[in-house]
Structure formats: structure tokens, C-alpha cells
């Protein structure tokens, strides 16, 4: 601790504290336009200039970055200091007369009318005052170093590299946050952030609870939006978290687990509704996907379960459109199976919670399963309008001037054989269930197959519906094909049982189909060396012959047929066996 005298007051502060901080602790105000606790003092506005006296020597220093020393005497309000500040303020004020922070500071320092006119005067109220906060926070805190100053002298300005949107900018918004004049504005870039982006209606911050019903219900840090994780900067949240629960080190990591069997339940995704522009999804307000609507219905959702239009009003009529992308020659020919029933549920809930009219637009009502048909009948009794026909277009319509626009659903009612236009306030689309976009990757990883619709293919549709072509790999749920919850549970249980039965056996017999090099015939031409996708073949330098690792070999036999000396034999599928087979089938 050192003691300094500030304006006659003795202040005891830690060594290396800046005069500004020391004065602050003594309740003495020092003006500044560029100081921020977030980064190293930049010391450019010079308004915080104070007079320090050491012995007989007096000098002017900037208090923001001058470290206190024992026995220092500081004058924050001497005539000299006042004169300097005023003159600096005059300079600043003359250049940016309309910026609020400058105006306020000028008033505080008693500057009313500058004595000179700045040729570079900028009358904008949100002009850049070159305080450097944005540049400093970007470099020191965010550690992205995107923003920087360009030009020298009076021509200095803050720019993005080449005045273009920079790839290194993580759009954290810190610069806009620290800008004292509002000069920096963040344009929305609509960066895609995962598959949930389209329907997530809540606020999006780097720290959030993924869904309100998340278990465990703790906040997580989104690695992609967190400045700390992106650049190593920021870290502000940890300074505020008292129990020190924030751990930036706990990043996503790859864990290798050795297992004997794998059950693939990678589920599904819904079709991208934006590609069917006639339905207006993403273009028209109040056209929702079923998942978004489900989210709205949720009592922990953004509206607390109340059904509301974007403008906050209650819908007068709601249209529910089935088979968006399902049973459609242009998209998916198959039926997504679950839509009819959840659409009926939606209709029921809309009826239950609002007085709105509900219209169902369907191709065929597929109320299969236990109790479903009865539910359908009940809905009919509730007065839900059922229209059999495919919707052609959803567009905006206006009733009268000044009235809120409505959504016009055009369709053909095949039961009455007429073309109809139905006005509603809200439309819910039932998108097709389709395989995950990366299903083909999963397929490759596990060497399993996909059916033509790209869902994973079971070994046998009737006899072996949960296993795959690869031993020990099983599938269940929508990864295998569209199905509802009971079906998924049933299939998953079946797969689990299959897995358990193998575990209880304790051991697994592997195929004896392997390739083997006959040392006495191999001359080490290395023809086979590059062929094995499992790297089972290696070249033994000392013996000058190739060698196949039994454990890595999967027995495909490519090397067997490639061996120009026929020195590799494929057990189970030897040349002899195949030729004998050939002879056999051609003998008749």
C-alpha cells in the first residue's frame, strides 16, 4: 500500500494503482472520454490530465495510466489542469459539437463556445470521437484485432480491414457496446447457428439454457458465440460468478469409448420449408412450422402457452396444412406418419385455448393405431373444419384499409369439387420427416446401408428389423424411418434386447473370412500394399514380403484377386472354391 495526497486528501491505495482509480476511491471526479476498466488505459483524450508534484518538480500527467508512488502529491483541479482540460475540451467540442457525451463533458468543464472552428467538424450526433475504445476492446479483450485505426494525424479513423466485413470478426458486438457515441452499429448477419436456429424463438446469447425444460437445468456456454472460447478474450462472466462455476476449459471434447455394439438412433430432421416458397414460410409472419407451434404451445415457451400472432393479437382463424413435402412427388414420396395425429392435437388445443376457427387441409386422414380414430371422430364433433385437398398457395390478403392483413389459403376442396380461398390469421405447416442431413456420413462410418429414401436400412424388413448389415450395429427410431413415439420406443426396446442378448452370451464369434499371405510365394512386389482400406497389409522390410494383420482384415478379398503371384489366399473364398463353384453352376 502506498499513500498519496490527492487534492489535500491522503489516500491509501495499492501500489501501481492509477491516479484516476485512487482519486475515484477518494471520491474525486476526474473527467475522461476514453477510459474503460476493461482494457489497459489508452490515454488519448487527455482530459484526465492532472498535475503531480514530486519534490519540487511539477508535471502534468494523464491520471488514467500514471501509477501512484509513495509520497506523490496530486492536484486534480489546479489552474493549470483546469486550463489544459478546458482547451482540450474546446478542441474536442469544436470537432464534434453534437455528440451527447462530448456535449455533456463540455458542459461539465465549463466550455460553452469553442474559440475556433474545426475544419473537420462532424455534426453527426453519433460521430466517432476516436477514443479508441472499440479498437482496444477488440484487441485486448476480444482478442480478435479486427478493428484498427487507419490514417495518421487529423485523418485518423476507425476501420475494418479493407473496409470490408472481416472474416475474423466474430460479431460479438463488444465494440458497439463500448462505443460512447453509438457510432458502431451491428448489422444482423443472420449467421446460421445450428439446426435449432430456425425455430428457436427465445433470446440468443452466448450463455443460455438450451430449452426451458432442459435437464439438468443449467446454463451452458455456446462455444461458437462465446468470445472467450473464440479468441481467449473477454471472460467477463467468470468475474461475476461468485461460486466460480464457470469453466472455459470444459470444452467439447472427443472421447473414445470402446464398445462391442452400437445402437444408432440419430433421429430425423424436418424438411426445409423455405424451399416451398408458395407456403410463405420465412416470408410471411404467422406461418409457423409444427415444431415452432409446439414451442408456442409449451407453458414454458416464449408466450407461456398462449396462442398469439406475431403482432400479439389472438388469431381469429388457424389453418393447419398437412403433408408439406411428404407424399409429394417433388420431395418425399413417403408418408411421414406422425403429422395427421399431431395436427389433430393442434386443432384440439387451438379450439381449447382460443375461440378461433380451425381448418385442417389434408390429403388422406391417416388415423391408424390405438385410440387414434376415436380422437379424429371427437375432433369432428368439436367443429374442426376438415378440407380434403392440397393447399396451392398461402398469400397475404387485405380486407379493408387499415385492417390487419390476413393469410389467404388457396386450395381445392376435393370433396365438394371446388376451388376455395380461406382467410386465416395463422398457418401451421406440417413438414415432412426426413433423414438427418448427415445420415450418409453415419452410413459410411458404420458401413450400413440406406434405403432409397435415405433412412437407414435394416437387415431384413420382417425378420431382422433392428439390425443392420454390419454385425453389432443396430438401428431404432426415426433414423430407420418415420414413426411415432410408441413405435420408436418399441423398436428401441427390441434393439436393446438384441444387444443385451449378445452381451449375456459374453463372446462373439467373428467371421473366419480373412486373407492370408503365403510367405513361400510372396516376393514382395508391394502390389497389394496400398489396397487395403483397413491398413491391414504391411510390408515387412526385413523379409521383403507383405503381411496381413489378421485382426484388421475384414475379408473383402480385394488383395486376393490383386495379388499377381496369387500368394494371398482368401479363406472361405479361395480361388479353388470359387472356380469349383463356377464349374458347378456352369456344368448344367
Amino acid at each position: 500500500m502506498v499513500t498519496v495526497n490527492i487534492d489535500g486528501k491522503n489516500v491509501e491505495v495499492l501500489e501501481e494503482t492509477s491516479i484516476l482509480k485512487a482519486a475515484e476511491s477518494a471520491g474525486i471526479w476526474i473527467p475522461t472520454l476514453c477510459y474503460s476498466e476493461l482494457f489497459e488505459p489508452y490515454g488519448v483524450c487527455r482530459l484526465c490530465t492532472v498535475e503531480v508534484i514530486r519534490g519540487k518538480r511539477s508535471r502534468l500527467v494523464t491520471s488514467c495510466n500514471y501509477p501512484v508512488r509513495e509520497g506523490l502529491t496530486v492536484l486534480t483541479n489546479s489552474d493549470k489542469v483546469k486550463w489544459i482540460r478546458k482547451l482540450i475540451m474546446e478542441l474536442t467540442y469544436s470537432r464534434w459539437p453534437n455528440v451527447p457525451v462530448v456535449k455533456d463533458m463540455a458542459a461539465a468543464l465549463g466550455v460553452s463556445e469553442p474559440r475556433f472552428k474545426s475544419l473537420e467538424q462532424d455534426l453527426a450526433p453519433d460521430a466517432c470521437i476516436l477514443c479508441g475504445n472499440c479498437v482496444n476492446i477488440c484487441r485486448d479483450v476480444v482478442k480478435a484485432s479486427v478493428l484498427s485505426f487507419e490514417g495518421i494525424g487529423i485523418g485518423r479513423k476507425v476501420v475494418l480491414p479493407y473496409n470490408e466485413q472481416s472474416e475474423t470478426c466474430i460479431v460479438c458486438g463488444a465494440c458497439a457496446q463500448v462505443c460512447p457515441t453509438g457510432h458502431i452499429k451491428i448489422k444482423s448477419l443472420e449467421k446460421e447457428r445450428g439446426a435449432l436456429q430456425d425455430w428457436y424463438l427465445g433470446p440468443k446469447t452466448a450463455i443460455n439454457i438450451p430449452t426451458l425444460q432442459a435437464v439438468p437445468r443449467v446454463p451452458i456456454i455456446d462455444e461458437k458465440s462465446c468470445i472467450k472460447m473464440q479468441t481467449g478474450g473477454c471472460g467477463v462472466c467468470s468475474t461475476y460468478c461468485e461460486p466460480e462455476a464457470i469453466n472455459y476449459e470444459a470444452k467439447d471434447e472427443e472421447i473414445e469409448i470402446e464398445v462391442g455394439q452400437i445402437l444408432i438412433t440419430t433421429g430425423y430432421q424436418t424438411i426445409d420449408l423455405k424451399q416451398m416458397s408458395q407456403y410463405g414460410y420465412g416470408r410471411l409472419d404467422d406461418v409457423y412450422s409444427s415444431l415452432e407451434f409446439e414451442h408456442m404451445l409449451n407453458s414454458t415457451g416464449p408466450t407461456g402457452g398462449t396462442i398469439l400472432c406475431k403482432d400479439g393479437s389472438e388469431p381469429r382463424a388457424v389453418g393447419i396444412v398437412h403433408c408439406i413435402g411428404s407424399r409429394d412427388e417433388n420431395f418425399h414420396k413417403y408418408c411421414s406418419r406422425v403429422c395427421c395425429m399431431y395436427a389433430l392435437k393442434f386443432a384440439h388445443l387451438v379450439k381449447d385455448r382460443t375461440p378461433a376457427e380451425v381448418y385442417q387441409f389434408y390429403i388422406d386422414m391417416r388415423a391408424f393405431g390405438k385410440g387414434y380414430e376415436e380422437f379424429y371422430k371427437r375432433l369432428l364433433d368439436e367443429g374442426v373444419n376438415m378440407i380434403r385437398g392440397k393447399v396451392a398457395e398461402i398469400s397475404e390478403g387485405y380486407l379493408n384499409n387499415g385492417d390487419k392483413p390476413y393469410l389467404n389459403i388457396k386450395c381445392e376442396d376435393t370433396l365438394i369439387g371446388k376451388f376455395r380461398e380461406i382467410p386465416v390469421d395463422m398457418v401451421i405447416l406440417c413438414p415432412a420427416i426426413e433423414p438427418q442431413f448427415d445420415a450418409s456420413n453415419i452410413k459410411k462410418i458404420f458401413s450400413i446401408s440406406q434405403s432409397p429414401d435415405k433412412f437407414f436400412l435394416e437387415r431384413h424388413p420382417k425378420l431382422d428389423p433392428v439390425s443392420t448389415m454390419t454385425d453389432g450395429v443396430f438401428i431404432a427410431g426415426c433414423a430407420q424411418g418415420p414413426k411415432d413415439i410408441p413405435d420408436s420406443v418399441a423398436q428401441a426396446s427390441a434393439a436393446a434386447a438384441r444387444i443385451l442378448s449378445l452381451i449375456s452370451l459374453g463372446e462373439v464369434a467373428v467371421d473366419p473370412i480373412k486373407a492370408e499371405v503365403m510367405d513361400e510365394y510372396c516376393s514382395g512386389c508391394r502390389m497389394c500394399n496400398s489396397l487395403c482400406p483397413y491398413s491391414a497389409i504391411s510390408f515387412q522390410e526385413e523379409k521383403k514380403i507383405s503381411y496381413i494383420n489378421d485382426m484388421l482384415c475384414k475379408g473383402c478379398g480385394t488383395c486376393v484377386s490383386a495379388c499377381p503371384a496369387s500368394a494371398i489366399i482368401g479363406k472361405g473364398f479361395t480361388d479353388k472354391q470359387i472356380l469349383a463353384e463356377l464349374e458347378g453352376i456352369l456344368s448344367v
Binding site: K443, T558, V560, S561, G572, L582
Partner: protein, 141 residues
Amino acid sequence: MEQEEKEFNPKIVAFLCNWCTYTGADLAGVSRLKSSPCVRIIRVMCSGRVDPSFVIKAFKQGADGVFIGGCHIGDCHYSEGNYKTLRRVEFMKIFLEEFGIDPRRLRLEWISASEGDKYAATTLDFEKQIRELGPIQLVEV
């Protein structure tokens, strides 16, 4: 002459990969699809196991056509076995032509386990092709 042609029952040897085409053929059967009855199937683990010598041997022993079925490119159960098949068949076609055997008698198709219909259609088409080409009739030596 016409009499003879009617009696021509092509012998087609099919080397089918265990994971895709063989299963596809199975599916064709399960699905009650009509595939060529002339096809005599030899199951191999991977189409990459098919040694060009087998093809020659098959023709030599009286096969009128040889059919090789494998997984689609990129979908090989063994990652890339079918690439080798692709290259070998490509080479064999040139080879067969030089041997004076119509290269159309050798056919390579990618048929996945789910493409029972493709299996059925392809084998029928191949049979038709072979019928058009007629019996192989190698010169006696």
C-alpha cells in the same frame, strides 16, 4: 435356325457382393419381382474379390455373359473395394475385345441392398442383351 434360337438359354454368371447386390437380389426375391432366371449367382464378400481370371474362366466354361454386382461407389461395405472392381472391369472390357469376345458380355452394375427392383430390371435387361448377342461359341482348340 429359328428353332435353335428359341432353345438358346443363356448362361449368365453373376458375381454378387455379399452386402449390396446379393442382398438386393434377395430383396428382389422377397419382393416377388421378376428377375432373369438365367442368372447363376456366385456370392463373394466384395465385388473386389472378382478376379478377372474368373471372368475368362467363366466364358471358357460356357458362360454367355458375366455379371458383376457391387455396392454403389462410395457405399462399399469395405470402403473402396468397388473402385478396384470398376478399374478391373474397365480393363477387362478392353481385354475381352482384344480376345475377340464382345465386351457387352461383361456387365458391372452398382446395386444396393435396397434396390431389389434395380436388380430385377438389370438382370432382365442383361439377359435380353445376351440373347441379342447370341451364344458365345468359342473356337474349339
